[in-house]
Each structure stands twice: as C-alpha cells, then as structure tokens.
Amino acid sequence: MKAVYAISENIISALGFTASGNAEALLSGKTGIRIHHDEKLSSNKLAISLVDTQEMERKFELILKQNKKEQQPSFFTRLEKLLILSVSDAIQNLPVRPDNKKVILVLSTTKGNIDLLEDRFTAKFDHKRVYLWALASVVKDFFGFANTPLIISNACISGVMALIAASRLLRSGKYETAVVAGGDIATEFVISGFQSFQALSPEPCKPFDLSRKGLSLGEGCGTIVLSTNPGDGKTEHILVMGGSVSNDANHISGPSRTGEELSMAINKSLEDSGIEYTAVDFINAHGTATPFNDEMEAKAVSLSKMDKVPLNSFKGYWGHTLGASGLMESAAIIQSMKLNRVFSSAGLEVSGFPGMINVVSETIFKPVNTCLKTASGFGGCNAALVFQKT
C-alpha cells in the first residue's frame, strides 16, 4: 500500500485559528461552548460554540492583502472566509503550488452557504453561491487550484469520508497532494432543525456521560494536507492508513440498535491498515452526546473488542461542527500524536458506559502511535479511519 502522509493541519474554532492553538486549549481543558443569545440564530438561548467574528475579519483582511486580491471582504460569505483562512494556514509551507496538476482540493461540508437562503443575504450574494460546487469554486479560484475540487456531502461523516476519499485517490496515483478542507457554520437553518428534533442540550454537551442531554452545535473549519511525499528533514511522520465506510440500513435519523455496522467499519479500517486492534492507543469517537448515538458507539467499540482502549470525544470542546467535525477532530488527533497526549473527553463526569468503553477523564501522557477515528451520521452512515506515527 502506497504511503499517504498528513503533512500539515489547521483547525479554526471558538478556541483559535490554528491547530496548535486549539491543541493548547484542549490541553488546558478550555471549552468553546458558551451560552449565547443571538436573535439571528434563534429566539432562544443556546449552548453553542461560535468562531470570533472580529478576529476572523481581521485575519481575513490580512489574507486578502497578502494574496494581493482585489476583492473586498464583503464579496466572501462567512463560510468562504473561514475555509480560505483554514486552507491558507495549512498550505503555507506546501512544497508544491496549488496550480500543480497533481494537487487536488477536496471539500467536505453538509450545508455550505445555506445562510444565503435567509432574506437578509438574498440581495447581497448571487443565489448560485448556495450550491456546494459554487462554494468550492470560490476556494479553488482564490488559491488557483488547477483541478476541479472533489466535494463530499455525506452528513456528519463528510469530513472523515473526505480524508478516506482523498487518501484513496493518492494511493491510486492520480494525485500526489490533496488539500482536504471541511467547514460548516452556525445558522438558523441548522439550529431550528436540531431544535425541532429536540436534540440540543440546554447546557454544554456531555459526550458519553451518564447524564448527557443532547448535542451542542458548533461552527468551524479544519484542513489536513495529505501527500505521497513525506517532505524533507522530519524525524517523525503521521500516516493516514486504511479507512472504511458502512451503512446501518436501519433508520434515516436514528442510529443502529446494535452498533454492528459501525463495528464493521472499524474492523475493516484496521484490516485495511494491517493493524491489530490491540495496537490502537486511543479512539477519537464521534460522541455527539445524544442518548442514542453514544450508546450505539459504545456498543460498536465494545463489539470490536476495544472496551479498554482510551476513548474521547472532542464535541465538548467546540460542539458538533457537522461537515467540519471529521477534519477538525482528525487534525486534533494529529496534534495528539505529535504531543504524545490523549486529550480528556470534555464534559465527562460519570461514564454512562462502564465496562463497555474507557472514556478519558483526565489528559493522559503516553506515547501515541496509532489512533482510530470514527464518525456516524444521519442516513445511517458510519466511517472509520486509522492514523499511525512512524
């Protein structure tokens, strides 16, 4: 199997604008989820994780100047700004230029510029920008990528699926570098939908906790650059190993009752990587903190015999960021491997699943060489992906 290296990463969330900045916040146990009352998002108070708009605008103006762009900041939507900032940070030391034919942009999002459907934006932006391919084009054109971007929109597994798709494309030899970016923003559209499902927690979410009451939404972006070339002068490398996707074939909005299908994806991703489950140092689960999702994941991990493997969820730090989550969380896994720390699972007080999974209550200091990432989403989809350090 041709090696695929993760050569750089970025995270933008309420906790900061870089991967290392976010990792520092995770180490100190900070959470980005706060109680906000923003009429544009909801008439109710919400526990949500929002990116600092002033800081975003300040950084974006700098990026426009650095790239000698003539467009005004107001040309770009909120999500476009965040994606451009994220990609820009991740590719700053890239050895190849985006216009190289062997480089592809892979974009993961669930709702893209869906806020443009709101009346307050319809006069300001071309209605076409609500199409995901138009969003991708804005990012593509900003950096001058030569190839048409690959766009993945597969509910909450989009980010992990984008990494799986990109690594498969690199292994097939069609491309040498993939810039994999994911983003979703907080909108009334999404908030009202989750409210109608009664899926939102009144307090910051508590993944895998006995008293979890639902999820907290968040917004953000994550970018990971994958390459078949490890780059010069590094003593250690992060490899993206095998990945697998499965479907519950059970219910469009409720997870599997048994966890068998996620377990199947986990087992196949390990098999695809040539790795035994005993070698996994920690699992970063999806962990949305809804009663049924967390239960399904606990069953799946237990079925895959990894009940003793340290497991965490990052949703307690920056909420559920939908199509961005898989990329932000994978970028945090990479930081974990670089720092040899397993971050604590924010929001955990009393595990809801003793004996089934080993949720990390305090940050663990230990060599971190092999990690498993999982995700599950509406439509019954599951994904699993393995990272390894050499």
Partner: protein, 214 residues
C-alpha cells in the same frame, strides 16, 4: 481489473428506461410528485415509507428499485453492494422547504420530518434500508454530471474488494426539473446480467451514453 455495467435505469424527460427498454412514459408532466406517484403505481411497489420521503429520495428510491428489480439483489450479501451517488444541487429542493418553515418567527414551524431530508445522502440511506445494503456508500457533488470522478471512486472500491458490485449514479432534482440514472457496476470475472442485455464496459464514455439515453 475490467468492470462492466450489467444493468442501468434512467428517469428523465417523462421517460423511464430499464436496460434500454422504455417502461414508462408521460408526455406532459404536471409535477414531479404526480409523475413519480404514477410510476410507483404502475410498478406496483408496496412500500408505505415511500410516501414519507422527500422528492430526492423518491427519485433515487425508484431508480434503484427498478435497477435491482431486474438483477435479483438477493445475490449480493449485505456488505457487498456499495452505493455511490452524485448530483448538482445537493438537497436544495428540500432545503427551500425547511427555510420557508422558519422564515417568519411568528409562524415558525420547522419539522423534523422535513429537516432530516436536508442532507443529500439521505437518499442513499433510504436505498440501503430498502435493500439491506450495509457496505461502502458516498454522496458526491459536482456542478455537472462528472463521469470521471464517479468512475475513479467506484473503480477504487471494486479494485480493492471493498464491495463485489456498486450502484453508481446521478440523482438530481430541483422543483419539477429532475433526472436520475443508476448503473450496476461489477467486476467482469464475477459479473452476471439478464438475458438479452448487452453489458457495457465501465468507462466514462458508457456513463456519458447512459445519462443521455432517450
């Protein structure tokens, strides 16, 4: 490994083709809802969940239903048939419905049964539930039908034995404009097909041909 298209279904311009045979035709389509209901009735499908689906899922469901009806899906194990679909407008058709329900704070009625369909891959979920498919699945978005991306994605799955066969297609709907095409793709060495159907090589040219059928 050589791969073959061993069956395909086309729904568009009022016509429905199954393996090149015209099985349904409406000269004047008033609405998508009426069209798809008439097709559902003609084909005598009994699946009450169909009526709860949004338009994208109804379109994809019918296309997959007709595709597999002629292929005996029972020959595939649950994990061995993958589904890779794509379109241009994602779930925009239902997104507009959800947005309309939250437009006015004094008449606010977001509904979970609409909101759940504001994700493009739900159509794959519906197909997987109907046929018990538990394997690889993916929903991709591109401005126009992009046979090269679909071919790469599906070929990788089959070449690496992630599935024995794959449903590969395009499911696009916005208002009353719709088109769906699905192909069943198999490795040549294990492929089977019905009498009278001439399998096509799984190439960009073949995909371009079947999306233009009629």
């Amino acid at each position: 490994m050589e791969k073959l298209i061993t069956a395909y279904t086309y729904i568009g311009e009022g016509k429905v083709f199954a393996n090149k045979r015209l099985i349904f035709y409406q000269e004047k389509i008033a609405t998508f809802a009426e069209f798809i209901k008439a097709l559902y009735k003609q084909e005598q499908i009994a699946y009450p969940k169909f009526y709860k689906m949004d338009s994208l899922s109804k379109l994809g469901f019918m296309c997959a239903e007709l595709l597999l009806r002629y292929e005996n899906p029972g020959i595939f194990k649950p994990g061995s048939l993958a589904v890779v679909l794509a379109n241009s407008s994602s779930s925009l058709d239902t997104d507009l419905l959800h947005q309309e329900s939250i437009r006015n704070r004094s008449a606010y009625f977001p509904s979970p049964s609409v909101f759940v369909y504001t994700l493009a891959n739900i159509v794959i979920g519906e197909i997987c539930i109907r046929h018990g498919l538990k394997g690889e699945n993916a929903f991709l978005v591109s401005e126009k039908f992009n046979p090269s991306t679909l071919k790469d994605y599906v070929s990788e799955i089959l070449d690496n034995h992630r599935a024995e066969a794959c449903i590969c297609g395009w499911v696009e709907i916005l208002g009353n404009n719709f088109k769906a095409v699905m192909a069943l793709v198999e490795n040549e060495s294990t492929a089977t097909w019905i009498n009278g159907f001439k399998p096509m090589p799984f190439t960009e040219a073949s995909l371009n041909e079947i999306i233009k059928v009629n």
